[in-house]
C-alpha cells in the first residue's frame, strides 16, 4: 500500500464532511442568535450569542411549555419500541430458529406493508379514531407507530436470529436444556445487538413521524415535530426560534445516532449489513 499517494483524499473527505455538516452547524449557530441577527444578508457569522431563541422555545413569548409535546414524543417512541420488541422477537423466532412453513412468504408480507402508501389509510384511521374517541390520544399514536415499525423490526430481528448456530441449538436440546436456558445461553448473545439496533431504529422513526401526529393529535397528544412546526409564522421573524426548537428536538436522535452508528447501519439495512 502506498499511503502517501492517498493524502489528498483526506482533505477531500474533510471538505465533504464540513459541507454536509454545515447546515446543521448553521442551524445550531442561528439558534443562538437574536431574531434580527438571524435574518441578515450577508449572514452575521459573529453576531453576539443569546439564549433568546431557547427562551422562546421554552415558552417565554407565548407561555406554551414544550414539555408536554416532548413527553408525548418520548412516551410514544419508547412505548411503541417496547411493544415492537415484544411482538417482533417471538415473531422473528418463529421465522428463523423454529421456522413455520412458508416463513419467507410471511417475512415478505411484513415488508410489503412498508411499501403501501401510509397516506391512503389515514382517513379511515382518522374516522375510526373519532368514532371511538381515540383522537388526540397518545396511546393510539403509540399503536400506529408500533404497526409502522413492526415490519422493520421483524426483518431486523430475523436476520440476527438467523445467525444463531443451529448446531449449538441442537446440542443444547440434546443436553436437555429447557427453552429458557437455550434462549439465554445460545440465542441471547446473538440477539442482543439486534435488539439494540431495532430499538434505535424504532425510536428514531417514531420520534420523527409527522403525518399521523399532524392528523390525529390536537390539544394534549401533540408530539415534538408538530410542536416544531408551530413556531413558523407568516408574520414576523422566527428563524432563531425555529432553529432552537429544531436543535432541541433533533438532540435525542443526534445523540442516539452518534453513539450507535453501527447499530444505525444495521437497523436501516434491515439487518442485511452487519
Amino acid at each position: 500500500m502506498t499511503r502517501k499517494a492517498w493524502r489528498p483524499w483526506g482533505l477531500f473527505a474533510w471538505l465533504a464532511g464540513i459541507l454536509f455538516a454545515l447546515p446543521v452547524l448553521w442551524m445550531v449557530l442561528t439558534s443562538f442568535h437574536s431574531e434580527s441577527d438571524a435574518a441578515t444578508n450577508p449572514p452575521s457569522l459573529l453576531a453576539p450569542l443569546t439564549l433568546s431563541g431557547y427562551e422562546e422555545f421554552f415558552g417565554a413569548g407565548s407561555g406554551a411549555s414544550p414539555w408536554p409535546p416532548l413527553i408525548n414524543s418520548a412516551s410514544a417512541s419508547i412505548g411503541s419500541t417496547v411493544i415492537v420488541l415484544l411482538l417482533a422477537i417471538p415473531a422473528a423466532y418463529a421465522l428463523s430458529i423454529k421456522p413455520v412453513r412458508k416463513w419467507s412468504d410471511v417475512l415478505f408480507f411484513f415488508l410489503s406493508t412498508k411499501m403501501l402508501p401510509v397516506v391512503a389509510g389515514t382517513l379511515p384511521i382518522y374516522l375510526f379514531a373519532q368514532f371511538s374517541g381515540l383522537l388526540d390520544n397518545i396511546s393510539f399514536l403509540t399503536i400506529l407507530y408500533t404497526s409502522m415499525n413492526l415490519p422493520i423490526a421483524v426483518w431486523l430481528m430475523r436476520s440476527f436470529l438467523a445467525e444463531v448456530p443451529v448446531e449449538m441449538l441442537e446440542a443444547a436440546q440434546l443436553d436437555g436444556a429447557g427453552l429458557v436456558t437455550t434462549l439465554r445461553r445460545v440465542v441471547a448473545p446473538v440477539a442482543m445487538p439486534g435488539i439494540a439496533a431495532t430499538s434505535l431504529i424504532c425510536f428514531i422513526f417514531s420520534w420523527n413521524e409527522l403525518l399521523f401526529a399532524r392528523v390525529l393529535t390536537g390539544v394534549v397528544a401533540g408530539t415534538a415535530p408538530v410542536f416544531l412546526t408551530s413556531f413558523v409564522t407568516s408574520q414576523g421573524l422566527f428563524l432563531a426560534k425555529v432553529c432552537a426548537a429544531a436543535t432541541v428536538i433533533s438532540l435525542p436522535v443526534l445523540a442516539a445516532g452518534f453513539a450507535a452508528q453501527d447499530k444505525l447501519v444495521q437497523g436501516l439495512s434491515l439487518g442485511a449489513v452487519k
Binding site: A39, G61, S62, G63, A64, I71, N72, S75, A76, G79, V82, I83, L86, L87, P90, K98, Y126, L127, Q130, L135, D136, N137, I138, S139, T142, I143, Q173, L179, V180, R214, V215, G218, V219, V220, A221, G222, T229, S230, F231, V232, T233, S234, Q235, G236, L237
Partner: protein
C-alpha cells in the same frame, strides 16, 4: 418437548400482549386529561396577536373566570387544515378556533358552528354594535345569525416611503390609481442602492398572492364568476388585471417575488429594499413599532383603484365556536373577553398600544391612547375597513360574498391551484395567458356544481 415448548410459547406471547396492553394504558394516562369541565380548547393561527393573547390569558381570563384555556397554535396553512378537519367531522376536539370571514358563512351553512345571537343579546357589555359594520356583515350567515366575533380585522392599503418619495421629488396622490402606482414604482425603482419600486405578494396560496391580485381584478372590472356562476378568468378584464400585476412585480417588484408573502414584504420594506408596498392594513402596526427602522417614514393611502371607488379587501380572524362543543357558555365567555373592549385596553397597557388587535371596533379609533400611538395609520385603516363591501366589491353583481376570495368551500383548493399558476407566471415559467387558460378550466369545473342551484 414440542408440547412444553408450545405451552410456553403461547404463554409468553399472551404475556407479551398483556404487557403491551398495560404499557399502552400507562402511556395514555398522561393524555386524555385535557377536557376538564372548567377548561376550553382553542385552536389558533400563529400570528403575533394570538401569541400575545396566549400570554395574557392565564393571568387575566383564567384568573377572572376560573376557566383554563388550552391553546394549540399552528402556522396559517396548517391551522386551516386542522380546523376544517375537526369542524367538518364535528370531532369536537376544539371548542373555539380562529376562523376567518372566508370560512364562517359556509361553515355556518354546513351546521358546524354554534350561532352566537343569544349570547350577544345577553352580554350587553360586549356591545355588538360597536363592531364595524362590514365585519358584522361578513360574519353573518345566510340565515341572518351571527357565527363569529372578530379578534382583529384588516383591509388593504398602499404604504410608501415618504422620505424616498421626497428625495426623488415624487408625490403620491391621495387616491392613487393603479396606473399612477405603476409609474411611481418605475420612478422609485433604484432610488437607493438595491431598492425596488414596490412589493407585491407572489407566493402561491389563495390567501397569499390571490388576495392582493383579486382586489386588482375587482377594480379592473373583472370577477371570478358572474351572478349565475359562469367562470370569467379568461375575460379581458381579468386578463388585463393579471397581466398588469405580473408585469408590475416582474419589472419593479421585489427580488424573490414568486415566494414573497406578507412577512417577506414586511421585511423588504423595513430593510429599505422597496419603496412601496400594497398589503394588509395590519402591517402598519409592525412598521410603526419603536424598533422598526422605518417608523415615522411611511405614508398611507387607500388601495389603488381603476374602475371602482374603493378596492381594499376585508379580512378578519374571528372566533368561531364549534357546534359539537359541550362548553358553549365557557366558549362565549372566552370570545367576549378576547374580542371585548377591555382586552384591547389590557394589551395597550401591558404590551403597548401598537400591539392592540385593532380593526374591528369603532371605539378603538376613539381611544385617545390608541390614536396617539397609531395616529399615522389609524384613520386610513378605519376608512379602508369601513369602505370595504364584501357583498358588492366589483362592477358586477356577485353570486356570493367575498372581496379577495369567493365564499365557497372549493375556493381554498381552486384559489391555491390558480395561485400556483400565477406564481409560475411571476417566476416566468409560464405566461399569464396560459396560466389563466388553465385556471379557467379549474374554475369552470367548480362552477358547474353551483349552476342551477
Amino acid at each position: 418437548m414440542a408440547r412444553i415448548g408450545a405451552r410456553r410459547a403461547v404463554g409468553a406471547a399472551t404475556g407479551a400482549m398483556l404487557v403491551a396492553a398495560a404499557l399502552t394504558a400507562c402511556s395514555g394516562a398522561g393524555g386524555g386529561g385535557a377536557g376538564g369541565a372548567n377548561s376550553i380548547n382553542v385552536l389558533m393561527v400563529n400570528n403575533p396577536q394570538m401569541v400575545d393573547l396566549q400570554k395574557l390569558t392565564a393571568d387575566n381570563f383564567t384568573k377572572q373566570t376560573g376557566i383554563t384555556v388550552n391553546f394549540t397554535v399552528l402556522p396559517e396553512n396548517d391551522v386551516r387544515d386542522k380546523i376544517s378537519q375537526d369542524f367538518s367531522s364535528q370531532a369536537g376536539q376544539y371548542d373555539v378556533a380562529t376562523i376567518s370571514n372566508y370560512e364562517i358563512p359556509f361553515y355556518a351553512k354546513n351546521g358546524w358552528l354554534a350561532p352566537l345571537d343569544e349570547h350577544i343579546s345577553k352580554d350587553t357589555a360586549f356591545d355588538q354594535n360597536d363592531i364595524l359594520e362590514p365585519m358584522r356583515v361578513s360574519l353573518t350567515a345566510e340565515d341572518g345569525k351571527v357565527y363569529g366575533e372578530p379578534f382583529y380585522g384588516e383591509s388593504s392599503f398602499l404604504m410608501y416611503r415618504k422620505d424616498v418619495f421626497q428625495a426623488k421629488g415624487l408625490t403620491m396622490p391621495a387616491n392613487p390609481t393603479w396606473q399612477q402606482v405603476a409609474d411611481l414604482a418605475a420612478q422609485a425603482d433604484g432610488a437607493q442602492p438595491g431598492m425596488k419600486g414596490i412589493c407585491l405578494r407572489g407566493q402561491p396560496g389563495w390567501g397569499e398572492v390571490m388576495a392582493p391580485l383579486d382586489t386588482v381584478v375587482n377594480t379592473f372590472g373583472g370577477t371570478w364568476f358572474t351572478k349565475d356562476w359562469q367562470a370569467q378568468l379568461t375575460s379581458p378584464e381579468f386578463k388585463q388585471a393579471t397581466q398588469f400585476y405580473v408585469d408590475l412585480v416582474k419589472a419593479h417588484g421585489e427580488s424573490g417575488a414568486p415566494q414573497a408573502g406578507f412577512s417577506e414584504c414586511l421585511n423588504n420594506l423595513e430593510q429599505g429594499k422597496v419603496a412601496m408596498w400594497y398589503d394588509a392594513t395590519s402591517a402598519a402596526g409592525s412598521l410603526e413599532a419603536k424598533e422598526s427602522p422605518v417608523a415615522g417614514k411611511l405614508g398611507y393611502v387607500p388601495a389603488p383603484v381603476m374602475k371602482t371607488k374603493s378596492a381594499g379587501w376585508l379580512y378578519t380572524w374571528a372566533w368561531g365556536v364549534q357546534k359539537a362543543s359541550k362548553k358553549q357558555d365557557n366558549a362565549w365567555k372566552f370570545l367576549s373577553w378576547a374580542s371585548g373592549k377591555d382586552y384591547e385596553n389590557l394589551v395597550g397597557k401591558q404590551l403597548g398600544w401598537s400591539r392592540v388587535p385593532a380593526g374591528k371596533r369603532a371605539s378603538t379609533y376613539e381611544n385617545a391612547d390608541y390614536v396617539k400611538t397609531a395616529g399615522a395609520f389609524a384613520e386610513q385603516t378605519k376608512n379602508a375597513i369601513s369602505s370595504a363591501d364584501p357583498k358588492n366589491p366589483g362592477v358586477q353583481p356577485r353570486p356570493t360574498l367575498g372581496i379577495q376570495f369567493v365564499d365557497i368551500p372549493e375556493f381554498t383548493d381552486l384559489g391555491t391551484k390558480v395561485s400556483q399558476q400565477i406564481s409560475s407566471a411571476i417566476a416566468g415559467s409560464t405566461t399569464v395567458d396560459a396560466a389563466l387558460e388553465a385556471s379557467q378550466q379549474l374554475a369552470a369545473q367548480v362552477a358547474t356544481k353551483y349552476q342551477g342551484k
